[in-house]
């Protein structure tokens, strides 16, 4: 996040004191405003009154559980993006969470890098060029309608999957995208491969869009994932 951007406001609704404090501290360290609610009722009233960009909601909360909290927010027309944190990490739980009105679902334990990347993608402040038909990063251009990709004057030939991978990365240009996010959004798999299967796809894509060009656009963010952006870090 650049210094000039308005600070992102995050509400964390989590009853476990230790992980809640850790999250608040970590979000503040990256320059966000992070508030904390420690039960479902408090969380609901804070979410309704405060103007937050993203809510991070634990699924199991005292007084009112996470899914019912989201349901009641949505019933009142509050569309604030919600990321659900849950110890129940399986496919059906994820589907239940998303059905209840959550926008993303992250099973515990998670890495903060993963959470941060997802929160940034979710945030309303960072609504990217979602509806645009062409994405542009530096001299790389992707046309979503004609499926053409060009870097500078060179036309690039991408496989369909490579195209979708690049499309997702460019939609979230300037944001960190994790391997799991790619697997979920580009391949629609929600399991956890034991191997670095995504890295191989990325390196193939990289060889097509960055190889032979002076300025790399597809960056690896250590310990987190990938990011496409113009300019040096």
């Amino acid at each position: 996040m650049t210094a000039t951007a308005p600070q992102m406001r995050i509400l964390i609704i989590e009853d476990d004191r230790e992980s809640a404090d850790y999250l608040v501290k970590a979000f503040r360290e990256v320059g966000y405003i992070a508030d904390l609610a420690s039960d479902g009722e408090e969380g609901l009233s804070m979410a309704e009154t405060g103007d937050y960009d993203v809510l991070v909601v634990d699924r199991m909360l005292p007084k009112r559980d996470g899914l019912s909290l989201i349901g009641s927010l949505r019933d009142k027309g509050n569309r604030t993006p919600v990321l659900i944190l849950s110890a129940l990490g399986q496919v059906d739980d994820r589907i239940k969470g998303l059905r209840a009105g959550g926008d993303d679902y992250l099973p515990k334990p998670y890495s903060f890098a993963e959470l941060l990347a997802r929160v940034e993608v979710l945030s309303r402040r960072n609504v990217g060029p979602a509806e645009e038909t062409t994405y542009k990063v530096g001299d790389l251009e992707l046309d979503r309608l004609s499926h053409r990709v060009a870097r500078g004057k060179d036309e690039l030939t991408l496989q369909p999957r490579e195209f979708r991978l690049l499309e997702y990365l460019m939609k979230h240009a300037g944001q960190v995208v994790t391997r799991t996010m790619l697997l979920e959004n580009v391949w629609d798999y929600h399991f956890d491969p034991q191997t670095n299967v995504i890295d191989v796809h990325i390196s193939r894509l990289r060889s097509k869009i960055d190889k032979g060009f002076e300025r790399p656009l597809l960056h690896t963010i250590r310990g987190a994932g990938y990011m496409i952006r113009d300019g040096i870090r």
């Binding site: 990490g89 399986q90 496919v91 059906d92 589907i95 099973p107 334990p109 890495s111 999957r161 391949w187 798999y189 929600h190 399991f191 956890d192 491969p193 034991q194 191997t195 670095n196 299967v197 191989v200 796809h201 193939r204 250590r222 310990g223």
Partner: protein
């Protein structure tokens, strides 16, 4: 609760009481119908007899006059078991007959009536009842002919007694039968209860007694035994898993701890600490992955994932996984091929995808040909993902040409955390095949490991979706039509 209290509380006994009541009601109404009909029949008979006699007597009077009438009545009245006769003058004086006394006013009413009476020659001074008809003759004389109702009364008594007895017998037999049945059931239920108590107390090897009659209780017992069998297997599995977890997770945890300790002890540069911390995170990520895989297996085995099943084509899964893993295989010097035919299945797509992914990962990791094997076949570095239908089964198989798994080890290889000797040095949790197997079991299928001469062919055998073949076949037929 007393033994008797328990007995009368059984369903069998209560049902018996209900039936008993119904049967008693039935018997009573049957007897009542019988009694009523008999009574009607007797009354009819009396009426007919009396009418005939009045006719006869009247005609005698018409032919032979009063004298003849008196003689005839005297004769008839003296016959043994005779009917009742009485002839009165218009002033009410009795002229002939065998009736001593009547209820007052009977003679003044013409037609039928029921009355109390006494015969002239009656020894006992008790009243009897009779059904009588009074007819007036043209000279003002009145003639009464009637018949005693004793017969009817006696018959009624017999029926009433029969009713009493039959109801008594029904009740006694019913209660007796009820107690017998209830005791039999109770006895068997008690035996079952005893066994379940033992099982609850922790002895999971206990089984319910199954009789030979094959009745509903036996079937229940058989089903409960099957359930117990499954519970025992699950418990044993769980115990094995927790033992294995304890053992297999301890190792990486120890490693983790040692590294952290080592990094602390060696006061190195910031870069050293950073590297150590990164390694720590990597290691814990691996641990988390292992836990996730374990949870997933547990889910699949407990059948909880059944909620998310839908219809899809196994060929799509094979193609999807091929697309995902093809670059990885190539980087590893292998080629990943896919061959698909319509394979309709009903299941959890996510889990089946993961199972196939695990098989492919295994093939990439362990399916490299042995360097020593000569001559090396041309396709030795090829891995083939295949989806096809065979009868009512769908086969999703992954074939490699590596060293394979010796036949004796195959069953063992599917167990959790088992990593065969050859693979010990490679990274992995040892859960891939277990998950694939659990997924197959969840769908009512199995994981088959076979020999690819050389190599391993791992096949997920799933039940094909019924009726799915026609639709898919129709789809494939459509394609050439469109092309033409």
């Amino acid at each position: 609760m007393t033994a008797f209290g328990k007995l009368i509380r059984t369903t069998a006994f209560r049902l018996t009481l209900v039936y008993l009541f119904l049967f008693a009601l039935f018997a009573a109404s049957l007897l009542a119908y019988f009694a009523w009909n008999t009574r009607r029949l007797i009354t009819e008979q009396i009426t007919t007899t009396v009418n005939v006699e009045i006719g006869e007597i009247t005609s005698i009077y018409n032919r032979r006059g009063l004298h003849g009438l008196l003689t005839t009545m005297g004769n008839r009245a003296l016959r043994p078991g005779a009917n009742l006769y009485l002839l009165t003058a218009p002033n009410g004086q009795a002229l002939a007959g065998n009736v001593g006394s009547l209820a007052p006013g009977v003679m003044s009413v013409q037609g039928w009536s029921e009355t109390a009476y006494r015969r002239i020659d009656d020894q006992d001074k008790t009243d009897h009842r009779a059904l009588v008809r009074v007819a007036e003759m043209d000279n003002g004389f009145r003639l009464l002919v009637g018949r005693d109702l004793e017969e009817r009364r006696r018959l009624f008594g017999i029926v009433a007694k029969a009713a009493q007895w039959s109801i008594l017998v029904v009740v006694v037999l019913g209660i007796g039968g009820g107690i017998f049945v209830a005791r039999r059931v109770l006895h068997r239920i008690d035996a079952m209860t005893g066994t379940t108590r033992r099982i609850m107390a922790g002895d999971l090897s206990g089984r319910l007694p199954v009789g030979r009659s094959g009745d509903e209780l036996d079937r229940l017992a058989e089903n409960l035994n099957a359930m117990l069998e499954r519970i025992e297997a699950l418990m044993t599995g769980l115990k094995e898993v927790s033992d294995n977890i304890a053992h297999d997770l301890k190792t990486p945890l120890t490693r983790l701890r040692n590294r952290a300790e080592e990094a602390l002890a060696r006061s190195g540069s910031e870069a050293d600490y950073r590297a150590a911390l990164e390694r720590t995170i990597e290691e814990s990520d691996g641990l988390i992955r292992t836990f996730n895989a374990l949870l997933m297996i547990a889910r699949a085995e407990s059948g909880q994932a059944r909620g998310n099943m839908d219809d899809f084509d196994g060929a799509d899964v094979a193609n999807g996984i091929h697309e995902l893993y093809e670059p990885l295989a190539e980087d590893d010097g292998m080629t990943l091929q896919v061959k698909t035919a319509p394979s309709p299945v009903h299941g959890n797509r996510e889990l089946i995808s993961q199972a196939v992914a695990n098989l492919v990962e295994n093939a990439i990791k362990y399916g490299k040909p042995d360097a020593g094997v000569e001559p090396m076949k041309a396709d030795a570095r090829e891995i083939l993902i295949e989806a096809r239908r065979e009868g009512d089964q769908v086969l999703l198989s992954v074939t490699d040409h590596g060293p394979g798994i010796p036949e004796g080890d195959r069953k063992h290889a599917v167990e959790r955390f088992v990593r065969l000797e050859a693979s010990r040095t490679l990274p992995g949790s040892g859960l891939g095949l277990s998950l694939a197997s659990a997924v197959a079991t969840l769908h009512g299928g199995e994981l088959r490991l076979g020999d690819a001469h050389p190599g391993l062919v791992a096949t997920l055998v799933l039940p094909a979706r019924a009726g799915g073949s026609d639709r898919l076949a129709a789809q494939t037929q459509d394609v050439p039509q469109k092309a033409a």
